[in-house]
């Protein structure tokens, strides 16, 4: 395992929650020395050259996202940090904010300078209470040290950060739902356009970035952007914080350059598969299509390779599954999660996720029938690209790919029903008293 440059996790375990320790480790040097000598456009160009792509899951180039934010509209520009980390298997933001909250604050000041922002919000998942405490403590220290508030470091630049605690809805990780929730409305995705960059929080231009994206900024500013770009693949620069969980010896958060082979991640970083042989890997969180052991052997962890294998890089959350597990159990677990977390807005998602979950429940309970899998696959066909946000595909995608790649697991469960070959009884009318 080659020792790689640590961009986001360099201060882990060093007690950097305290501002003095953080400063001794080189923190806030950007703010006091470099940042205010650069113009906004220079800074955006700097980030664009670093090839930094959004770390939340979609992988949109950050510099380009910032350049979309209109200027001179007379409305304030907001930065919202998406710390509503809810995807199954993802836990990097939690550790990043716990271990190094000042890096997030420093990154936010840089982003604020680039976008001309007066106020930023950190939308933190409601369950992350220790995280919120750690952030608030760091914010108080930063205010006391003069890095936040009025006239930062003797300049005319003023900037405030607020931590907003979410109420624990997965869908609030979607940027427009997050903005709705931040505004105090029900956390449901908005129709697009207008996109948040044009009309987001309180109808003002809003830039929503992931925690890790913002935390990469101090390193990029300290070093040369080309140095950051060099670390990754040609189309995505830098390192990535991976969360490896599941059947591995050392599950946890690891930082590695983009393009690292998947097996290197599993064997060298996480200590190898335990409890059996490798069966499948979910490379980018619970909503992506799984890779079989053969596919995992040739996969590299970057946006392009995984897209070519019809799965996605997502948030870099690898879930490793050994061959003692039945994939239907896993899918049922996903069905439970997504049917519970659907916001209830679009019909296909609202009704479809619950429907899939109930069919999966039937199969797991030993009451599956022949044709159930085909029915599920056919139902998922109604999900693709028809809803406001991609939550329906987060379940529809796995149902399709699990049943295509691990069909034997489904057949094994269905065979547990002695009557599986008989058709389900058609009841034309549900009995009941209606009035």
């Amino acid at each position: 395992m080659a020792e790689c440059v640590k961009v986001c996790t360099q201060n882990f375990g060093k007690g950097a929650q305290d501002i003095e320790v953080y400063k001794k480790l080189g923190g806030y040097a950007n703010i006091s020395e470099r940042l205010f000598n650069m113009s906004q456009f220079e800074l955006i160009d700097y980030v664009q050259r670093s090839n930094l792509r959004g770390r939340g899951g979609a992988g949109f180039p950050t510099g380009m996202k910032w350049s979309f934010v209109p200027r001179g509209t007379g409305k304030p520009v907001y930065i919202v940090v998406n710390a509503d980390e809810g995807e199954g298997g993802t836990f990097k933001d939690h550790f990043l904010m716990m271990e190094d909250p000042h890096r997030l604050i420093e990154g936010l000041i840089i982003a604020a300078w680039a976008l001309g922002t007066r106020a930023a919000y950190i939308y933190c998942r409601g369950e992350f209470l220790p995280c919120i405490e750690s952030l608030n403590k760091a914010l108080n220290q930063a205010y006391a040290a003069g890095y936040l508030g009025e006239n930062i470091c003797g300049t005319k630049f003023c900037f405030d950060i607020f931590v907003h605690r979410g109420a624990g809805a997965y869908i609030c990780g979607e940027e427009t739902a997050l903005i709705n929730s931040l505004e105090g409305q029900k956390g449901q995705p908005r129709l697009k356009p207008p996109f948040p960059a044009v009309s987001g929080a309180w109808k003002s231009p809003t830039c929503v970035n992931n925690v890790e994206t913002i935390m990469s900024l101090p390193w990029i500013l300290q070093h040369d952007p080309s140095e950051y770009a060099k670390m990754g693949t040609p189309r995505a620069g830098g390192t990535k914080v991976f969360c490896i969980s599941g059947d591995v010896k050392n599950p946890g958060v690891y930082e590695a350059p983009l393009g690292t082979p998947m097996m290197t991640m599993i064997n060298d970083y996480a200590g190898g598969v335990v409890g059996g042989n490798l069966k499948a890997v979910l490379p980018g969180g619970s909503s992506c299509a799984p890779l079989t052991a053969e596919e995992a052997a040739v996969a590299t962890m970057d946006y392009e390779c995984l897209a070519s294998m019809k799965t996605m890089f997502g948030s870099g959350a690898m879930i490793v599954i050994n061959d003692t597990h039945n994939m239907v159990d896993l899918l049922n677990c996903l069905g439970n999660f997504y049917s519970h977390e659907s916001c209830g807005q679009c019909t296909p998602c609202r009704e479809g996720t619950g429907l899939l979950h109930r069919i999966l429940n039937q199969i797991v309970a030993g009451q599956g029938h022949d044709g159930d899998v085909e029915l599920m696959q056919s139902l998922c066909g109604g999900f693709g690209g028809v809803t406001i946000c991609p939550l329906s595909i987060s379940l529809g995608g796995p149902v399709g790919s699990y049943s295509a790649k691990f069909r034997a697991d489904f057949d094994e469960y269905i065979a547990k029903n002695p009557d599986h070959a008989k058709p389900r009884i058609q009841e034309t009318y549900r009995p009941g008293i209606f009035w």
């Binding site: 129709l191 296909p348 609202r350 109930r358 139902l379 028809v386 549900r430 209606f434």
Partner: protein
Amino acid sequence: MSNFYNMPKLPTENSPKVEIFVDDKAVMVPGDTNLLEALKAVGIETPHVCYHPYLPVSGNCRQCLVEQEGPRGRMLVIACYTPVTPGMKIFTPASSARVKNARKATQEFMLVNHPLDCPICDKAGECTLQENYMEAGQNESRMRPEYGKNYHGNPDHQFIDAKGQVRGGKHVDLGPRVLLDEERCVQCDRCVRFMRSIAKSEQLQLAGRADHTYITTFPGEKLDHEYDLCVTDVCPVGAMTAKYFRFQKRVWLLSHTPTISMDDSLGANIWLDHADGRIYRVMPRCNPEVNRSWLSNTSRLAFQGFNKNRLPAMGFNVIKSAMGEGKVAVVMGGACTIEDMAAARMLKDSMGDKVELFGGSLLKVSEPDGIAKSGDPCANRAGLKLMGFADVSELLKRAGEFKVLLTVNADLFGEDAAAAKALEAIPSRIAFSAFNDETAKKATLAFGIKHWSEVQGTMVNNLNILQKLNACPVCPDAELRPAYDVISELAGKKFESASAAFKKAGEYASVLAGLSYDTIKSTGKLLEGGEA
């Protein structure tokens, strides 16, 4: 869901026409609207559930999907939220199997938890789901009972939500007038958007998530807005039911008479839905210029009194003799039509200066509510002005001059007994009235006439729009006659029909000259100028 969404832009007669390609065929459509309205304008119906032309677009039913050619290939988009752009390429189910399948899938999802209680549902016959299914679907169900929501198991079909609480039910009492059937609800949130953006009172909310989403009021609160019955109109399925109409009549047995609500000077356009000689319900009739799709509860529920407390018809000769010799004051109420006024003008012509004409109401004028009420209870006030009637307050000052008072649908004593006391000095008081109201009781002669719901006629509303009333065949007494019929006979030249009366009105008001009763559109006609 959120109030972030904007009202849809609707096409008008002046909309610029742009060329778009629908299924590879070039068509000219209105250019300043959404795709759904544009396609409707060229005769292509797009099924939709949540879209309503007068509510903000929320785009959550996903039923109106069409395919649009874009930079990244053909994408499915919702027609209700896609603006028309010149040269855009659209594919409907006529040419695209993908659109057809997507709509079919959406329809299937919508029916997963929707009960098949159409045989006892009040909305059956005018239900959007039924229409969509019959037009585009008629697919066989693949759903099985065990795929449905986990119901609590009690007869009321309550279910257990994600937190383990018992929710829903077949009859959730939302307020004094509206009952909710939670099981039929398809979460289109039209009612929520109506209460939020039209009624401006957030009494309804969507609570919960996923397929446990349910419509509710705030704890302990009621749905008791003046416009709350509109939620039963906008509801695309039978979830919101009006208590007064629940289980009263199958809607396909109702006949519909388009007319005008004569209890407010906005003149809300309505349908009188009647069967077996009685009115069963009043529904708003869409008129973009007047009341859009809305109707207040007062106007809607007024029909319940239309056939109660009616005055009987009487022989005509009685009035003739009662008119006597002295000076006559004719007072026309707000519910009188232009035709009634024309007859009164003719009476003045035939009797000379002996007759003076007054009109109006003693009720207080309040502020317009901005939805479907102008606040002026004298419905035809603009018509009275047009036809040269003095205000009734004039009469109160000069009551002593008159020997005969002839009130036509003007319940002066009922409206303001104190102010009307002066009129008791007039010795001979004749009341032409549909109801046995206070004025009829105080009258020396009370003569029954037809109610405004039973006559043909016209009225001018406060926006100066000439609107047409139609006769609903629900008159309780065949002997009753319209007011214009009686008064014109009194004047000595009986009108053959309402259209003849309207033609006569053209002689008294120049803006009405040249118009014909039969050519007035159902949405009315905007009058030029206004003064006679």
